[in-house]
Amino acid sequence: MVDFSLWDILRNLILSARWTLVLSLIAFVGGGVVGAAFLVLRIWRPAVFDRPVGAYVQLFQGTPLLMQIFLSYFGLRLFGVQVSVWVSVSLALTLYTSAFLTEIWRGCVAAIPKGQWEASTSLALSFGEQLRHVILPQALRIAIPPTVGFVVQVIKGTALASVVGFVELTRAGNMIANVTYAPFTVFACVALTYFIMCYPISLYARHLERKLHVRGG
């Protein structure tokens, strides 16, 4: 039997953590783009898009991410679409992230006083100009802390990709635990690695929030 040093374990976990970061990035960028598109539709024509987008948000917020990953993985295959585990996991994470982000951002846009819309409307600005120059710059400022905070949820959420065989941090930990027979040590290291990735982001989000309150107050 081969002996594994703690360094062997950590080194392999850190290498696999790359894929956790890549997945998180895909989820955040993809979810951000889709979420922003839904946001714009929703404020552009609320009468048409508010309900469908609201239902979409409820669907993805009201079901476990694990099920979404399962469904995306097995569901696509069921319809004869052969996709790699990369694609199905990215798809599930993107949809999940977009549902949360679009809702977070909608709240930020709703927090902008109605008078800002009215003043820019009466100055003959078009909808696009209002968004670009008046509403979004103000909404962005209040959106940054909750958005950064949500990134932490996404990073931890990628752990669920392991259930369909995607080798990221959690899956790698599982595999290493199986060969080292030291599950406690290994999973402690896994948890520590997640913490090292998430804690600075949480700190940053809190810092941003404080800064906002100081300026806003």
Partner: protein, 254 residues
């Protein structure tokens, strides 16, 4: 007063005919007919809930109405045409009770934003115009200040400069001094008065009766969604005809 007398012979700049507006089952405007001549200064008075602010907001399309017609400069207001609304709103400026300056932009850029976007004015032209307008409202030195560094009265004067930057034919003033501390009301009213003197067409909803009496050519008293009484200020304030107006005016002295 002479402006109004001349004006009655010219085609109206704002023409409202049979305008009706409801919020749900609640009809707030029950058939308004009103013609505003170019250069005319009209004060709209009445109790809260009489529909005066709603009427004002219909004129630049912030509110839609169910029936009746409204033309500005001879062009009909078409809610469904974004291009027509954009053209109309360039002719109609509006100043709000709560100023509604853009808090993330400097005072100068507040004034420059609409001309650069909508009228495609060059940066230099827009800046020169903004400086001129800020000077006119007595705030030339505040060009680089942020709105939250200004007093309410100063913010409202910036809002006036911002509306003027679009060179509107009509300026709508919606209770523009109601949110101000009493000592700041005067500086805003002086700016409005100077606009009136320069021949700007003004339509203002106001609670400042002394100001309405002094500056306006015509006073419109609204009651329960209708124009209840209308006429020159000395007639309306001096010899109100209807019991509703008499009651409204006497309630102000309580």
């Amino acid at each position: 007063m002479s402006v109004a007398a001349d004006a009655s012979h010219r085609p109206p700049i704002v023409e409202i005919a049979g305008l009706r507006k409801s919020f749900g089952d609640n009809e707030v405007l029950k058939g308004i007919d009103l013609k505003i001549a170019p250069g005319e200064v009209v004060a709209i008075i009445g109790k809260s809930g009489s529909g005066k602010s709603t009427l004002l907001r219909c004129i630049n399309g912030l509110e839609t109405f169910q029936s009746g017609g409204l033309t500005v400069d001879g062009k009909a207001l078409l809610h469904d045409s974004a291009a027509a609304m954009r053209a109309l709103r360039q002719r109609v400026g509006m100043i709000f009770q709560s100023f509604n300056l853009f808090p993330h932009l400097t005072v100068g850029r507040n004034v420059m934003l609409a001309p650069t976007l909508v009228k495609k004015a060059g940066r230099g032209t827009a800046e020169a115009q903004a400086r001129r307008l800020l000077d006119r409202v007595g705030l030339a030195e505040k060009f680089d200040a942020m709105p939250d560094q200004l007093s309410g009265g100063q913010q409202q004067r910036v809002a006036i400069a911002r509306a003027l930057a679009m060179e509107p034919a009509v300026l709508l003033c919606d209770e523009i001094t109601s949110a101000l501390d009493p000592e700041l009301v005067g500086e805003v009213l002086r700016v409005v008065e100077s606009l009136a003197d320069e021949g700007m067409t003004l339509l203002m909803v106001t609670h400042e009766m002394a100001f309405a009496r002094k500056v306006s050519d015509r006073v419109v008293f609204m009651h329960q969604g209708r124009v209840h009484e209308m006429g020159p200020p000395e007639a309306l304030f001096g010899a109100p005809q209807t019991p509703e107006l008499q009651q409204f005016l006497s309630s102000l002295h309580d």
